[in-house]
Amino acid sequence: SQTIHQWPATLVQPVGSPLSLECTVEGTSNPNLYWYRQAAGRGLQLLFYSVGIGQISSEVPQNLSASRPQDRQFILSSKKLLLSDSGFYLCAWVSKGNYGYTFGSGTRLTVV
């Protein structure tokens, strides 16, 4: 069966520090992968998506970046965090041709 792992669950980072969030999917190959952010009291905002290794599309310009070094690994990074980067970050995957995403359990990031 397919599973998605996302870590860490919570993270408190100072302003200006780097960030690395990791997401891995098991039990499938060549999935589409996504990073979403939910800011406090807001909806789900698509940040990045990837249709294959090394292929990243950015939806919102910001100081975040994403990489897909392996087929089932998706990484969200920042060189210098801002206070506005605080939020709940979600990774999701879907098999190509399917509609419904499966989400990871999320990472609560607080930038202080």
Binding site: G43, L44, Y99, G100, F103
Partner: protein
């Protein structure tokens, strides 16, 4: 420009009554719609979906209705239970092939009162 809108940020319903959550969209290219349920500090989980070729899909206590001419869909929960208390996101799917992706609404917090 929000292509998927959930205009009610919150809804309170008595246990046993019907909950109706609404969603509007603007992009006529959307051809598949989904509802997700989200508890605090967890990822959203898929609840129910509907293709644009249908106007109704039912799964147990959950029914989704689609009105294409009005670009409107709704989720009905009958009877509502306290465990249904969560944020509900409407999502729409469009595009083709690998470019297909979901666009989410801002969510509605449903509270079912015992």
């Amino acid at each position: 420009d929000q292509q998927v809108k959930q205009n009610s940020p919150s809804l309170s319903v008595q246990e046993g009554r019907i909950s109706i959550l609404n969603c509007d969209y603007t992009n006529s290219m959307f051809d598949y719609f989904l509802w997700y349920k989200k508890y605090p500090a967890e990822g959203p989980t898929f609840l129910i979906s509907i293709s644009s070729i249908k106007d109704k899909n039912e799964d147990g206590r959950f029914t989704v209705f689609l009105n294409k001419s009005a670009k409107h869909l709704s989720l009905h929960i009958v009877p509502s239970q306290p465990g249904d208390s969560a944020v509900y996101f409407c999502a729409a799917s469009g595009g083709s092939g690998s470019a297909r992706q979901l666009t989410f609404g801002s969510g509605t917090q449903l509270t079912v009162l015992p």
